[in-house]
Amino acid sequence: MIFKVFQAGEMETLFGLLSVNRIVGPVEKGRDVDGKPLYDFDVVYDFKDLKLDYGQTIHSAKNYFLPYRENLCTFTFDNGDWQKEVDFGADRAHVFFGLHSCDINALNKLDKVLMGNIYPNPFYGAKRSNMFIVGYSCTPTPSCFCHSMGTDSVLHGFDLFLTRMGDEYFAEVQSARAYHILERMETREPTHEDHLHFRKTTSKKRSLFTCEVDTSDLTKILDMEFESEVWEKWGDKCLSCGTCANVCPTCYCYGVEEEVNMDFSHARKVKQLYSCNLVDFAEVAGGHNFRPESSTRLKYRYYHKHRGFVEAYEESLCVGCGRCGNACLADITVPEVIASVREGEK
């Protein structure tokens, strides 16, 4: 891998060079009751609006590559017949400026299921192929547990990854196009001291995590505790609202509906992101529901993230960003649920 170092002041130059494209990055959206800023990803037009030292955004950036609502196709009716037109919903490249390693890892995980060998999804692929990603190192928040999920660092899936070191940035360069952009800025080659500084910085970051999840043997333990009473306890708390899936960077499931326009000349097939916590998620024709209780749906969610995906891809689907716990109206958090499932081990 190629490394570069540049002065903190050059960050604005980098933003300027990339700003001929549409840039999506963390911005301040408002304040919470304690006056603390609330961040989310949005289109950024002015470098001053880019809040790179955000702790965590409320939502992930997934609306830009897995839109909450998306047209799968349009039908035109004509004389008892119809024509179908498909548009993958991408018309330009986007720059994602300031994604943390958890969110880049989330994309890498989504790639496995959405761009793997089995029916790769062009709606996702069209957007994914047009992303320029500038990763940005973070400072763990109290709800971050990416360290436990092995996603606190990221090995691939970005163009550029920047780590703040004093007055400078250490840049990991992973694409030729990122290299060419850096050529237009003032950068220097890193020295041995820079390398040491970088390693000290990342090891300091690792020491700052306060939230942990024990994932050892978790797939087996989830199977053993399938009938455990803890699921009912969490199910009683869960409001089945789907907020967790809404903010999750790796929740990708959806439902499809068709709509006819008012003059019956056209129809659309619309995909809407869904949540396995919603009551009708596993309902089949005739009304039989395979997961009618809130506890079975909540359990399924954990089962998919922490067991099923591991079985299929040898890694968890959860990246430990902590967004679901922060957003949950019933204060259900992943570390607490998993700790309760593992209760009595020690």
Partner: protein, 302 residues
């Protein structure tokens, strides 16, 4: 504008490096026509659906047990098992109960309606591997629908199979499907046993649970045959699977020779929407046909 990122158009980039062959066909559906439809019972109709383009129709191949996504533009799209023989290619028969918004609309359409078909999707009953063996087909209620394709397949290759039994249970005689074909099935030396929960005035057959007929069949066979040369294909309501499969295991049938077809409501059929997931097993990709060993390892499967 030298910093402008080049747009990669997935719709036209096929053949180039890093592209996924065929990705642009993800949402493709065959234009098909409902050439005929007729009621089988008060709630089910058989739809004969033909892919319009002759070339596409011929190239459409499937295996018994697979399903298609049937699309009614503007109304909806849903998965249905194919009930016709694989040798008929894209000249399909789907047996559909009117139960929801889309199927009630289907109930009202006329011959000649243009629909969309995509697929075929999912795993199939491995009838090829059952050659020289006995086959036990067990269906409860609508479960006969996905079984009709392997039944047809066996009929068309009758000399290649040993003893073939169909055990079929329904709630009442009026709910029995494909009644007009029972005579033909029997002519192919197939033992057909039908049982209903509740008889009507005309019913002369047995009344009771499907497990009663199965028990008789097991008592008539030899344990050695069940262990060595019998395959079972089972489809029915979730509650039936457990009882029937437990009986078959007790009779000595190996779990990897028992096949079930599971029902879930797919929204994509392509392993993307997660609606049919059991754990994180996609029923649309790894199913709908599973051997019973796989089912035992799936939580909440039946």
């Amino acid at each position: 504008m030298e910093n402008k990122l080049q747009f990669v158009d997935l719709a036209t980039s096929h053949g180039k490096k890093n592209s996924h062959p065929g990705i642009e066909h993800f949402e493709y559906s065959y234009k098909a026509e409902i050439t005929n439809l007729y009621p089988l019972t008060k709630t089910e109709k058989l739809y004969q659906i033909q892919i319009v383009d002759p070339r596409e129709r011929k190239d459409f191949t499937f295996q018994p047990g697979q399903f298609v996504m049937l699309e009614l533009p503007g109304i909806g799209e849903a998965p249905f098992s194919i009930s016709s023989s694989p040798i008929r290619h894209g000249d399909l028969e789907l047996c559909i109960r009117r139960v929801g918004k889309m199927t009630n609309f289907l109930d009202r359409v006329k011959r000649g309606t243009k629909v969309g078909i995509s697929g075929p999707f999912g795993t199939h009953f491995p009838v090829e591997e059952m050659v020289d063996n006995d086959i036990l087909l067990i269906a409860g209620g609508l479960g006969i629908v996905p079984l009709r394709s392997p039944i047809m397949s066996v009929l068309e290759n009758r000399s290649r199979y040993g003893r073939v039994d169909i055990i079929y249970g329904a709630r009442e005689p009026l709910e029995l499907l494909f009644t007009y074909q029972y005579g033909m099935w029997k002519q192919f030396d197939i033992n057909l046993d039908i049982i209903v929960d509740k008889a009507d005035d005309k019913w002369t057959g047995p009344v009771g649970l499907i497990t009663e007929i199965l028990q008789k069949r097991i008592d008539n066979g030899t344990p050695n045959d069940f262990r060595k040369k019998t395959n079972a294909i089972v489809c029915g309501p979730p509650v039936m699977f457990k009882f029937v499969c437990e009986m078959l295991i007790k009779a000595g049938l190996p779990m990897e020779k028992m096949f079930v077809s599971l029902e879930r409501r797919m929204h994509c059929g392509r392993g993307k929407c997660c609606r049919c997931n059991i754990g994180s097993t996609y029923t649309c990709i790894e199913g709908p046909v599973f051997d019973y060993w796989s089912v035992l390892n799936l939580k909440e499967a039946i």
